[in-house]
Amino acid sequence: MSDAESPSSFDPTAQSFEPVSVFPDAEDMDLRPGADNCYKCTACDTSCPVAEVDDEFPGPKFQGPEQWRLKRKSDEAVDDSIMSCSNCMRCDNACPSSVPLSQMHNTARAEYVDEEMDKLSREYLRNRTLANYRTLASVGSKVPRLTNFVMGNSIVQKINEKILGITAEREFPDFATETFRQWWNKRGGPKVRSEEKRVAYFHGCYSNYNTPEVGKGMVRVFESFGYEVVVPKQGCSGTPMFANGMLADAKREAGITVDNFSGLIDEGYDVIASCTSCSMSLKQEYPELFSMDGIEDLSIHTYEAMEYLRIHEDLEGAIADASVEEQAFAYHAPCHARNQGLDRQAVELFRDLDGVVIEDVGDSCSGISGTYGWKEEKYETSMKIGEEMFGHMEHSTGNVGMTECPTCSMQMEHGTGYDIKHPLQLLEEALVE
């Protein structure tokens, strides 16, 4: 079942790449109601972390409804500033009038990349490479120690920066010596079988290749509550592809995921994710951007892992009875978790856990936004956005960070030097002996 054996064929330099028409039918993708909903109040602009630190960035209102309305069907180009949007999606939450801002940004960005970006430019190749992290990871993790050695080499990092435009300031995350899926296969799949309580796990790329301990923890916690967990074949969630305007790539990956999860949903499985950007993508971006059989169903049945347990189990009760060794956390809620209404759940839950001190480090964005902060020209913006969070982390009691998002955790570690944990790891520590 391992998908690591069959990485999707991808060659960023291939000449054969043709920007496909991602929106076959204009009616499917109509954003007129979105433009109609905007009454220009600017709440989105005031919530935008990029606009806050970059005076040149015109903000989400311009990128979304304003540009959409000013642009003509045929001849007008999308402004290049769309590439400075980090796709944090905070504007979606800020809007009092339900303007589908991130959807508008995603489509504008895709149009810009399709029509205006030189497919042989360094920026395009870099973005396509970053967006297709999964492909890189599937190759790199075949020889994890070598890859980690090479990528950790400062000369290689300099070359990356010079040639690809990937910042040398950041340390590449290490690949795990054993991926989650390898572990899962070795383990022989599910340990619990159930007709009533069954979930299909969308692990995403990062907990597969880089932090399998998160996935393992998730499995053990769910099994401890009596759930049958299955791990179907899956593609990338598409998050890095949306953020880089690579909708055709995202659609290909979404197709793999939808194909493999749809049947399970019919059999009574709900879909859970441990990464909040993955769950965000399946819940919101998939049905907004693609029309495929089963994509709506997948959206409706997708949950973030802890969200799912809070709904279906007495997680508060279990936590109240548990205790762990004394530890203190500085918790950062990822923007994408915030958009799903999940920004307070870790703090609300773990503050009742014996032995734990947990503080919310505030509602600012971490600034890395997936691949954004990896780009050489965006690094500085990314760190400026992150400053507020770094400061709050340093002032909090905890000296270990906590967050659900893999790249937020990279940024937290990069800015403070703290170790960072995923809430599921603490949940495992508390509930699984």
């Binding site: 007129r32 433009a35 109609d36 009454y39 220009k40 209102k61 309305r69 000013l70 007008e76």
Partner: protein, 583 residues
């Protein structure tokens, strides 16, 4: 030029401006007077259709032929005012087949390129057409900006020596010995560019000939001269949608009826219209049912209109005319042709000609005929050049588009600006100064606003029609005050305030007809922004009363919460009304 006869043109609409330009280009001395801004009358209250002639191809072929001819001329001489969208006559299943055939045949007879499209082809062009349409005829309709066109004609006339006086209402037509010798006008704020708060004055202007191009108001001017001009003003409503549901002009292909056209116009679509005769072009009811009926009926063609956001509605009056004794009862049957009334032949009153009837698309041709007529009177043999000489802004600017980056504007903003300014873009936009966006909805920058202020004084409505600033979805909520600010320091604060008020009132006139759904939210946001940040609902400075500071919460004065100064405060922080509040 001192020997050239002096012609006074009344009316700053498309016809008047077209005549003024034509005569000025032929070397005559021209003065144009207009009671409001340019386009104040009917020109500023139309749907902006550049007719292919298709609409008249069955009922009025003479007009249809003129339309297609002028359509081709305007694409050349007014390229920066025209968007060649193309047009469709769409037949629904319930619309008669015979009429469709007649329409097609009519177009061919009149030399209007016409092509039949299957419903699939039509929906490929316009995906939001109703799924059950039967077929369509494709014709070269277009969209034209009447404001820009009128302003460009007036600017060209000025370049050729004409004097243009706006906000100069004719209060009397001067008649001496059975001949019109001029007019008396009332300047709203003194001659020249309008500046608010400058005292008005009256002026008698003598002329060798007076041309009344006052459309629906021709009867009123006629009365002043003592002649009867029986115009039959007919009102029609138009509703502006927030976005473009269609990018092609969409006409309903049926004999006649209300609510049968959607014109894509700049960022918006304009729905039209009704046709109801009125007594007085200045005073007629603007009725909500007209708007409702129009949206309902046009939704049969483009279903998504039913739930789309409208930003305002406005009414215009057609200057219909028919020779005395014709006796048509239904205004939709009155001819759209124009009539040149030589009052010397007709009424024995020399020195004056009226032009009535007609339509916007053929304004230039009307101007040419009137100018020929006037020149004939003075035995002047001068060629008309208005069909060949591009209007200011419409000189070739294709190269300019490639250099848009030089203006340092974001993509859609630069493009919109260059489309509006045409060949004037470089002189207007390259100021070397910071050039922020003033109107976000329509992408109008400071440089463009300043250029318009240079042309028209402190009149922000004149700035509006030149730039489209405040015409977008927020209807000026975020830019009226910024526009007013641009008047300073050329004009001082009281002038800016008055100009602001006037623009604001004008915006409200149309907004109030669209107060439901999103536009109601928009209007409420506009109201709260302006009342809370500018105290626009009750400004003591402007109303002359002193500010009663005791009405404000004095705030916490001691370390102990809830003591002095707060005990009588209402929940909003002010004192309750009984204690002197102003609610």
């Amino acid at each position: 030029m001192t020997d050239a006869p002096h012609v006074l043109v009344i009316g700053g609409g498309s016809t008047g401006c077209g005549i003024a330009r034509d005569l000025a280009m032929r070397g005559l001395e021209v003065t144009l007077v207009e009671k409001g801004n340019l386009t104040h009358g009917t020109t500023g209250r139309m749907h902006g259709l550049l007719h292919s002639g298709g609409r008249y191809a069955v009922s009025d072929q003479a007009s249809a032929k003129e339309c297609i001819e002028e359509n081709r001329v305007l694409r050349e001489i007014a390229s920066h005012c025209v968007e060649m969208t193309g047009g469709l006559f769409v037949q629904r299943p319930e619309d008669p087949d015979e009429y469709f055939e007649e329409k097609l045949e009519g177009c061919r007879e009149c030399g209007i390129p016409a092509e039949v499209l299957s419903p699939e082809e039509a929906r490929e062009m316009e995906p939001y057409l109703a799924k059950d349409i039967k077929r369509a005829i494709k014709v070269p309709d277009g969209a034209i900006d009447p404001f820009r066109l009128c302003v460009a004609n007036a600017a060209s006339a000025q370049e050729h020596g004409a004097r243009i006086e706006t906000h100069a209402e004719v209060i009397d037509v001067l008649v001496e010995d059975g001949a019109v010798v001029g007019v008396e006008i009332k300047h709203d704020t003194g001659p020249g560019k309008r500046v608010h708060r400058e005292p008005g004055s009256t002026e008698k202007i003598h002329a060798d000939h007076v041309v009344s191009a006052t459309g629906a108001w021709a009867g009123k001017i006629g009365d002043m001269a003592g002649v009867d001009v029986e115009v039959r003003p007919s009102k029609g409503v138009m509703t502006i949608m927030n976005t473009r549901q269609v990018d092609t002009v969409v006409n309903r292909c049926r004999p006649k009826g209300d609510a049968d056209i959607v014109v894509p116009h700049e960022t918006t679509c304009i729905l039209g219209t009704t046709d109801i005769e009125v007594d007085d072009p200045d005073d007629y009811p603007e009725e909500e049912w007209e708007v409702d009926m129009m949206i309902d009926t046009l939704s049969e063609l483009v279903p998504m209109l039913a739930n789309a956001r409208t930003i305002r509605s406005f009414w215009g009056v057609r200057p219909l005319y028919e020779p005395p004794g014709t006796g048509t009862t239904d205004p939709t049957n009155i001819t759209r042709d124009f009539f040149l009334l030589d009052h010397e032949d007709r009424d024995g009153l020399s020195g004056m000609t009226s032009i009535v009837g007609g339509k916007f698309t053929t304004y230039r041709m009307m101007g040419e005929k009137i100018s020929d007529h006037v020149c004939e009177k003075f035995d002047i043999d001068a060629e008309c050049r208005t069909a060949d000489e591009p209007l200011p802004g419409s000189h070739d600017f294709s190269i300019l588009r490639d250099y848009m980056d030089e203006f340092g504007l974001r993509s859609p903003i630069g493009r919109r600006s260059v489309e509006r300014l045409g060949s004037r873009a470089e002189e207007v936009l390259k100021t070397g100064e910071p050039n922020p966006v003033v109107c976000e909805c329509e992408a109008v920058t400071r440089a463009e606003i300043q250029d318009a202020i240079d042309q028209s004084g402190s009149d922000l409505n004149a700035v509006r029609i030149r730039t489209r600033a405040s015409m977008g979805n927020c209807q000026g909520a975020f830019c009226c005050h910024r526009m007013a600010h641009e008047l300073y320091p050329t004009y001082d604060e009281p002038v800016a305030y008055e100009a602001f008020d006037e623009l604001f009132q004008e915006r409200w006139k149309g907004e109030r007809h669209a107060l439901w759904g999103e536009q109601l939210s928009q209007a409420m946001l506009k109201y709260s922004l302006h009342s809370t940040t500018m105290n626009a609902d009750h400004d003591a400075v402007r109303t002359g009363s002193a500010i009663d500071f005791s009405k404000f919460d004095s705030g916490q004065t001691t370390a102990v919460a809830g003591t002095a100064g707060t005990e009588t405060a209402a929940t909003d922080g002010g004192l309750p009304p009984a204690n002197g509040g102003d609610q």
